[in-house]
Amino acid sequence: MQKDPLSPGDTEIVRKVLDGDVNAFEVLINRHKVLVLKIVMKHVPHKDVEEAVQDAFVKAYLSLPTFAGKSDFSRWLSSIAVRTCYDFWRKAYRSREIPMSALTDQHQEWLEEVLSGESWESGPEHSTRSEAAEVLEHALGMLSAEDRMVLDLVYLEGRSVKEAADLLGWSTANVKVRSFRSRRKLRKILKDARQKERRAS
């Protein structure tokens, strides 16, 4: 979206909101809703996206007094959106809302196919997409909220460790260690699933 050069900048609008003009916050929502939606949709199940987006914007509003204006507003908002997703998973894991369904035969067949390279050359077929997504969801569901977020940001989105650390508000060393451990855990989960399939056949 092209920005109108005459329209006030984000920092100016933040100042307006802090001066008591609550309705000015809607301008910020309109400007950055696509960004927040894109982040939340990647991290949170589809049925929970709307609530998470709302939470992210309300959190952003309540945290506006801490926005010093030194960094870019969209960067600051992205970090709030990522942390909202992290909070979502922490809450979900705590209340055990994560479905822990076992992998079916189709899932294990898909895993075997991908790892043996049979269906790889053209990338995942449309019919196997849902299996792949379910295998991924199953594996992610077996990790902790912290490991899941790091794996999402670094392994799946391809962000740098520094970028992930900034978004999560953690140290780079913490993200590096978690990234290594979570990848190892993911490998183990998939390896176990594959071995189970081999034993069964």
């Binding site: 909101v17 802090l18 008591g20 609550v22 309705n23 916050f25 809607e26 929502i29 809703k33 696509v34 939606l37 894109k38 949709m41 990647k42 589809h46 996206v49 709307e50 987006v53 709302q54 914007f57 309300v58 509003y61 309540l62 506006l64 007094p65 801490t66 991908v114 790892l115 390279g117 790889w120 990338g123 995942p124 997409r129 792949a132 997504a133 991924l136 999402d152 392994y155 799946l156 989105e157 391809g158 490998r187 998939l190 390896k191 071995q195």
Partner: protein, 109 residues
């Protein structure tokens, strides 16, 4: 059986492709009015500028240093021979008491 590097790479690319396809259509407009309703309920914000917020952030920054100091002082006290110091203190205060009372009431000397 050991997982091969090529297998990991293949799996990673498949998962990345599936993951990037997760972004779907835009949500409706209802959520936006819900956010504004919650924002209005929260009311106008107070700016963080001023003495107390700055003081609070300073306190939090100094908290780890304070904890470290308390720990170091605790260790120092544990290593000190406090019993002997207590004995000295007892002797000195007892002597002071006696001399002060004797001077005051003229009981001795």
């Amino acid at each position: 059986m050991r997982f091969q590097i090529s297998e990991n790479e293949r799996l990673k690319r498949t998962f990345q492709e599936i993951y990037s396809a997760k972004v779907r259509d835009d949500l409706g407009d209802g959520w936006q009015s819900d956010v504004m309703r919650r924002v209005r309920q929260a009311g106008p914000l107070k700016s963080a500028a001023g003495f107390w917020p700055a003081f609070e952030s300073l306190v939090w920054r100094l908290a780890p240093v304070c904890c470290l100091l308390v720990l170091l002082l605790g260790l120092l006290f544990m290593r000190m021979d406090l019993d002997r110091g207590y004995d000295y203190l007892g002797t000195v205060t007892a002597d002071m008491e006696r001399s002060t009372l004797s001077e005051l009431y003229g009981l001795e000397g």
